[in-house]
Symmetry: C2
Subunit: 461 residues, 2 copies
């Protein structure tokens, strides 16, 4: 048993007693809860519990709080900064059984789901009602986890991130209190915004058990387009001007030449190996035509070549499959290696400059790192292709990553647009927020005085 948690034996006894087969110390199951999808090193919890209800979560938290045992909530384990790695051991609360869609309203365009419902599961559930939920991080993540990391994805430029799309949450606090953060009205000026406080709190303040979300009507018409550029500036300026003109582009994604090369090789395609924009337009039939015509003109003015436009479902799917496969495509460049996906976001006026400087820096390194950007948000990822057992490569990636983050911060950007702080970005929180971190710590201390909720995340000890 872990020496980190002196009262763990006692806690485990109580949990066995209360939860029977829904609690386990099985080594294999603990192992699967020791990691996420990042390059960060695993850490094995002392036990894993599978609650069935808010009340059971409340009971678990009360027990752990009394014994000062760490608790980490676990959804799909698809996070990218070690956000769910139980670095202090303790109990993992696997939300597996909390996976029901509780209600959907076609009239209100909203729904309430338990935290472990995944985004694809939700979309399957609501599509026959003509509805969809747009937030799409790469993985088929759980809605609770997406709320906890303030996730976004390719549609955020039009539909917002989890920050804008969560209507309310049910949260269980470390002392067992069950809170609903707000009513279901679209807006409210009644008191502090508890919803937004828990969105992005990465399980450090409480466990999110239910989420009410905005939904959207499936657009009458969808078109996609792809266009390559001779320079990153041309692509970035196309994005800036598109947004400035108020063209309601649904997706506008930038892949650099390295990424395009990987995509071509992986998916047997023959796109030009150049900085390329992938776009999607949602609206009426006339609307999407007009939007793409406008963007085509803007792209042309910025040196865009071979603007290809389609409403055909099969062609659209092929195009977006290529975009969504970037991680696999990158991995295929160097079989057996891992992808360290980093993530910064800058004001859009700085995007070209930040990317150019980053690529220049990268060109001096031995590492390959394809780039993909949710350009409409000023957000981009580098995927360092590394051998995680090679300390030199880890060191080189760390140094490149640190310079990238300091570059983004110097441009009034953030050290993470959508992956969260986890353990990977902890050292940059002060650089980004300065004295603001002291306020965050005050909130943490008053909500979780025993520091049991996902300790060792967000804040350096």
């Amino acid at each position: 048993m872990s020496s980190l948690n002196p009262k763990i034996d006692q806690t485990i006894k109580i949990l066995i007693d209360k939860f029977g087969n829904n609690f386990t110390t099985n080594k294999g199951i603990r192992n699967t809860h020791s990691k996420d999808e990042s390059w960060h090193h695993p850490s094995i919890p002392d036990g894993v519990v599978f609650p069935n209800s808010n009340e059971e979560i409340s009971e678990i938290l009360k027990i752990c709080n009394e014994h000062k045992v760490p608790v980490t909530a676990f959804g799909t384990g698809t996070c990218l900064e070690g956000n769910v790695i139980p670095t202090s051991g303790g109990i993992v609360v696997d939300m597996e059984k909390m996976n029901s869609v509780l209600r959907v309203s076609q009239e209100d365009l909203d729904c309430t789901v338990q935290a472990r419902v995944t985004r694809k599961q939700l979309n399957d559930y609501v599509k026959d009602l003509g509805l969809f939920f747009p937030i799409d991080p790469g993985a088929d993540a759980s809605i609770g986890g997406m709320a906890a990391t303030r996730a976004s994805g390719t549609n955020a430029v039009r539909y917002g991130t989890m920050r804008e799309n969560v209507l309310n949450l049910t949260v269980i606090l470390p002392d067992g209190r069950i809170i609903r953060t707000s009513k279901r009205a679209r807006k409210s000026a009644a008191g502090y915004d508890l919803t937004r406080l828990f969105v992005g709190s990465e399980g450090t303040l409480g466990i999110i058990s239910e989420v009410s979300l905005k939904l959207f009507g499936i657009p009458e018409s969808i078109s996609s387009a792809v266009c390559s550029f001779n320079s990153i500036e041309g692509a970035a300026n196309t994005v800036i001007q598109t947004i400035q003109l108020g063209i309601p582009v649904a997706r506008i994604e930038l892949l650099d030449d390295v990424q395009m090369d990987a995509v071509n090789k992986y998916s047997n395609l023959n796109y030009p190996v150049k900085d390329t924009l992938f776009m999607e337009f949602h609206g009426t039939e006339n609307g999407v035509k007009e939007q793409s015509q406008l963007v085509q003109e803007i792209a042309k003015d910025n040196g865009g070549k071979d603007f290809q436009w389609t409403t055909d479902l099969e062609e659209r799917n092929k195009l977006w499959a290529a975009r969504h496969d970037v991680t696999y495509a990158s991995k295929a460049l160097r079989p057996g290696c891992d992808i360290w996906a980093t993530d910064v976001c800058v004001p859009i006026s700085k995007l070209a400059e930040c990317i150019s400087a980053t690529k220049k820096d990268l060109s001096k390194s031995s590492l390959i790192a394809p780039l993909v950007s949710h350009a409409g948000d000023g957000n981009f990822h580098l995927g360092f292709i590394i051998d995680r057992d090679n300390p030199n490569e880890i060191k080189e990636a760390e140094e490149l990553n640190e310079r990238l983050i300091m570059r983004a911060l110097s441009m009034d950007g953030t050290c993470t647009g959508e992956h969260g702080i986890g353990i990977g970005k902890m050292k940059f929180l002060n650089a980004e927020h300065g004295e603001g971190v002291s306020l965050m710590r005050q909130i943490k201390n008053t909500f979780d005085p025993n520091n049991i909720m996902n300790p060792g995340k967000i804040f350096t000890p």
Copy 2:
């Protein structure tokens, strides 16, 4: 001197010493800072200070915190729930001199302003750049005050409220710390969302001194429409279906028959005295035409009559002037009286039911109360026309208001969509948020342990 604040004399001496002519105890000036635009009773502060900088605000707060003297920040004083009335006396910090636009970026579609810049001032400043800021509470409020009350207005259905449109804030805490709540990137997953915590905190956690805001490109084309209905259900269903189809209507406002009668009389117009929708569409020339054609069809299916559509600037201005003059129009129904504007917001599926039940309740009362609704958000106001010196009328309005709020809460709505809690809605905070209020109080206590920031607001003592 106020007996509420034993150390007020000492505090005043220090403030005179430090701020000279920028501090005053002049009775007339104190009187103008004793009230807002609501029916709530005035309360006179002990002194008023006019800081020039963040550092001066910091100094004021340190002094007041040391002496445990209440501090209330004051912008334009246009709030509607007593939010800035210094009910415990103390010092009012009038932000008058903090009224500069600090920066505007055309490329990033954003700006940073000092808190006392008003929304019209900002729009005048940016219009030559082809930009605008959409949030429009009735009054020409200060941006800082709008952030503090989580304001919205007629454009929120398309552009969001202050919650969605504030990028970051500079906030001065009661202990004098100066915090910037985040960087300027469009999205971030770095730590707790301090920005959203201060938006809507009504001056109870700190003083907002600077605000970075999203801006939008002025649409290529704007059209307006007006349409009357035989029933509130027809109007509400038109709104629901418009939003469900994803038609990006910029404004969709519902005025009831009583309000339309007032508007006609006040502005010498001859609209049908029926439940009426006022709409605005933003987009390309073809886009706004298509949008309004779609809505016209929806309206027709729901019994809408005389759908009138225009892109003509003069006609549009006339139409929206009628909408914006509702308060004056209501006042003109009973000269010498006040308007008690109340404010609830419900899920849109409940809007017709909530309005119908409210009008039925109202029909049994002696009071007149025109109704105006930001229907796209499910938000509506009743304007009780009252003689504030008549306790029977106040009592009747209070009872109607309480029933209205409990009705909205029972429909999963909120006791205030955009006016804030202030003093007027304090008694409903627990009914709305239950145990969540205890979390809000924990935040309040840790940020402001001496309870000097706008005490007696949001939370009942």
